[in-house]
């Protein structure tokens, strides 16, 4: 890392640029993770609404989406029984109330994960800012050295002649 821009050399600038690229990639990944978590949270919230709605309606007919906008009417005989995917490719039957609680727990976990990811993303962005600042200073320093080496720069012509 560059501690003193006076002593910056091209290799350090190159290394800073690499760090910046690396952090940029990390920030991209964390942003994607945040989006996935938010999507999961919304999906779980919608599932809770659906389960509660089914319970309220009792025996009812719903539309089962087949994809491509096609659906079939399906009779829900027992909205009290819900099949929940508990992960690891296992689905288990729970009562409607238990399934709602399960989803609520999932939402809580996803919110906690989102918070952690957002904090990490914030730290990565702060580091990116710091590296960007150092890079900018390094490039300015290099430019000034180049100009000094090339001799005095003629004063720009004034427009008000």
């Amino acid at each position: 890392m560059v501690n003193n821009v006076e002593k910056v050399d091209p290799r350090e600038l190159q290394s800073l640029q690499l760090y910046l690229n690396e952090y940029r990639q990390q920030a991209e990944i964390f942003s994607q993770q945040l989006a996935i978590l938010e999507e999961g949270r919304m999906e779980a919230a919608a599932a809770i609404e659906a389960m509660k709605g089914l319970l309220e309606a009792g025996e009812s007919t719903i539309l089962l989406q087949l994809g491509g906008g096609a659906s079939v009417p399906v009779r829900v005989d027992n909205p009290e029984k819900i099949l929940v995917n508990i992960g690891a490719e296992v689905v288990v039957e729970r009562s409607n109330e238990e399934a709602v609680e399960f989803m609520k727990d999932r939402i809580t976990e996803m919110e906690a994960s989102s918070k952690k990811v957002a904090e990490t993303l914030e730290r990565v962005r702060a580091q990116m800012m710091e590296i960007g600042r150092r890079l900018e200073m390094g490039y300015q320093q290099a430019q000034m050295a180049q100009m000094a080496h090339a001799g005095p720069v003629p004063a720009p012509e004034s427009d008000e002649e």
Binding site: R11, E89, V90, V91, V92, R94
Partner: protein, 119 residues
């Protein structure tokens, strides 16, 4: 910018390759670790449901109804198998990390113009 000798360039390329390998191993390990966590959580959830509850498990392309005990056993085996794979990846990771640090030190010494110490 000072030029880098072909030998050092080659070593840097090797370092980059090692880094990529370590990243691949790391992401594979993370996937397995996640699968272990998922299986353990599924076991915990299953322990909470009554023994006669309908439990389905993915078998090929279908979800097949199974007994709770059979699914629990299957999950235990899954955790065990994944644990072994994780250990194997950890060994590879440690070995690669050692080699990487060694080569990195060599490259650093070469770039600083010092003769590399005898390994």
């Amino acid at each position: 910018m000072s030029t880098i000798s072909p030998k050092i360039q080659n070593q840097i390329n090797m370092l980059q390759q090692m880094q990529q390998q370590m990243q691949t191993i790391g992401s594979q390990k993370a996937q397995y670790e996640m699968a272990v966590r998922e299986a353990k959580r599924a076991s915990e959830e299953l322990n909470d449901v009554s023994d006669d509850a309908a439990v389905f498990m993915s078998v090929g392309t279908v979800m097949m109804q199974k007994k709770k005990d059979a699914v629990l056993k299957n999950l235990e085996e899954k955790v065990e198998t994944l644990g072994l794979r994780i250990k194997s990846l950890e060994k590879q990771e440690t070995m690669l990390q050692g080699k990487f640090e060694q080569l990195q030190a060599q490259v650093k010494q070469s770039l600083e113009g010092k003769p590399p110490s005898a390994a």
